[in-house]
Symmetry: D2
Subunit: 259 residues, 4 copies
């Protein structure tokens, strides 16, 4: 049986502000990436998210972002790599502090938003992030988009690295995501998203939207979302179909143990 | 030989803002309490402070505060104890993340400012802080003012607890600090501070400013400051005189090991 | 015809975070109190709120709060009155900057959350807030709970002051709000809220929950909320019934002009 | 007599953090650009800066920056122009609120750091900033580097615009500042800075560091700094020498009145 993992970003609420639909998406996934207080999340939100994940046996990871709550970590910022390295270590540690309190150790790290985007295309930033993870806990799994500089650095520096594909996004000829706003960039219909994912899994290749040649890759985890009815329907359809198709849906803890 | 420790709060700079005189005070102390990004400090400042401490063999601890950079964590805020517990765990973890990166593990926790003041007089808040420390790492030493609710909770919950006295502050008949602004609250002259500390150490008692009966206590660490020439002179005089008087000045790591 | 005003707090979203139901409540009210970036709101949210209010002819005011986004300005903080005065002036000015840009001048000020609560019972804080308003623009209307220190200071310092009553809250024998969580504190049912408001308006008195003597007051504005179906239903029922009962529902701009 | 103005950025302290040397530089300049709480400054700092400026008859302006306290507004951030426009209006308004309180109206606006740099080379961003200023108060003077897109937009949209030159920075062949770190970028010696400024003023041209042709410009204001002994010495030498050379050193209020 082939193993695969569904992951979702969550724990991004802040104080009185609620964002996302964590309770609805949690039962459909095997691993949750939790915001760590910089682009979203606060100590109480992080603790509640850890408790929710623990109750459902979902493995948790840090989802570190830029220090930009107002921009939700989605605005490109120019930050030196040495500082990127420090702020990733800070955020992983902060989540580990709360994970120790809750009794549900973290298993992985997946950078967020503009930080993730930058690291996917910039090798020195990717290297800084991977160094930070290794320094804090070299047994953590790196979740990184397949074919990205970040995935490459994870492999190079010897981290267990889970290549990630996106259920709702089309790919360019370089294996990057087609920019939001361009025609065909988003895959809205659950059955389209399912077909998109199955094609990638069955061929072990990305299939660029522009029809250019397929790009071989090794996906280990699929990113789904919980915001919006269609996103939830997609996650649910993916979960059901993959199980029926004989895939083993498992946590990143199990994935790591089986490496 | 009697063991004693000198500690100082540091790493409270933020971004382009510098505060304190960390480089000057570091050689005079054995343990440093580092701000964790809430009332002061940021990932780069924390990393540099850890590196500075490591270079000088100074043991480091978390100095968690309220989430109030503008007020430097000195403004009383009404925060539920469950949230206090979470924000202390977050900050300890964050520093541990950077400490792992620097290779200089933390040894202790000392709450900051208004959070510390509140916990010294409020048992449930003190209990929440101690639970947070135990949950993250039960081997961490708690630095808490002698005779405070916080010191009491540390003992009660079984943490190694280092009772703290202040070189530059007079005490009330209850063993709390005389409020700043009241006559005699501050001890400015280095030789007065030295006499104040020696009297406490030699009698194992606080001697209230108002002449009321001495209060037995077990100080293990002395808080000094690095801001201002007199504070530095006090730290230097204390360090020299205590050594000559036969005290063993040691880190909190050593203090913990000898428990 | 007796004039009355319905007001609601809004514009409290922040960045990617949405809170409240501004679009639904706006058509039911005559004046909106807009967060100014400290406890909620940001420049884009403020601008959009001003545009929405302008489109519907709703008068707008500043809703300044403590600098505590994480606590949504609801956590008591100890801030000197001189600083309260400055932070209120800052927030009013910031909204005026955006109001000039939108072409919809502000008409009033209503402090938010813990700042408002404190000023209602603390004369020096109330005086500081009123001084700040007068200094920035002495023609601004102060919205303050009836019988509060804040309302009193508004009158004393000569601001046009609109006494405020709450549709969904019961009163103590002192004229303050019964603390949330106590039995009877909240008035959930729209018809109960309507009866509560009509009784106050018709008798020009608050009627304490504990049955103690009625407290004469001069309400000019009624605070309603937009969060939750019942709150919206209450606002809608109040608006309809008051119109049918012959009340003139008018903006604070009109109220001020008729002073 | 030719009129000229010396300006300096100040009021950039925050809470317990002090930065710059405002008291020393204030007597040497005619106009002060005050941080508005985003990259630095807070309501109390702004108020104190306004009081200091008023006491010395120095005209004050807003110095709006990106919402990035940790990066001191110096980190490039990707922010849509509509939001730039709103955050500039917000910050100008906030300072006007405090200026009304202090009784010392503002006269100008000078964007800060990365926001300023971006607007100097990006016409749409420059246009957004100028629109914001005009919308809040069309009588405000725009301080913008000579030959920049920002200066150009100021003229185009009809603002009184004061072209700015820098005492301590060399210029490229395009009229932009030579990037810090490149040889010759910084002019440290006071007499070198004086010669650099006099040459620009006397020739009404920038003289690029690389020897390429002089660039005609119309400077109205000279930016000086207060941090560091040399910067202060430069400001002092410039002030003295320009007076002796017959220049009229005047505020931006006077400059505006004489337009």
């Amino acid at each position: 049986m082939t193993s695969i993992n569904l992951n979702a970003d969550m724990g991004e609420s802040f104080g009185a502000y609620t964002i996302g639909n964590d309770a609805a998406i949690m039962p459909l996934i095997q691993s949750a990436n939790l915001a760590c207080g910089f682009h979203g999340g606060d100590p109480m939100v992080m603790q509640h998210s850890l408790e929710l994940a623990k109750a459902q046996g979902v493995s948790v990871g840090a989802h570190p972002g830029y220090p930009d709550l107002q921009g939700f970590g989605r605005r490109p910022m120019t930050i030196p790599n040495a500082e990127v390295e420090a702020l990733v270590a800070y955020q992983i540690g902060a989540l580990m502090g709360l994970a120790a309190k809750v009794g549900w150790p973290i298993t992985h790290v997946k950078p967020h938003g503009a930080l993730n985007n930058f690291a996917c295309e910039n090798q020195p930033a990717a290297a800084a992030i991977v160094r930070a993870i290794k320094a804090v806990d070299a047994s953590l799994v790196l979740v990184a988009p397949v074919l990205s500089e970040l995935e490459n650095e994870g492999h190079k520096q010897g981290l267990v690295t889970a290549g990630e594909i996106f259920a709702d996004r089309a790919y360019t000829s370089k294996g990057t995501l087609v920019t939001r706003g361009q025609p065909g960039a988003m895959i809205h219909e659950p059955h389209d998203a399912l077909a998109h994912i199955l094609r990638i899994l069955e061929t072990s290749c990305l299939h660029p939207l522009d029809g250019s040649p397929a790009l071989p890759c090794q996906p280990k985890t699929i990113c789904v979302h919980g915001d919006g009815e269609q996103a939830l329907a997609t996650a649910s359809l993916l979960s059901d179909t993959l199980k029926q198709a004989g895939y083993q849906l498992e946590t990143l803890a199990t994935l790591r143990a089986n490496q």
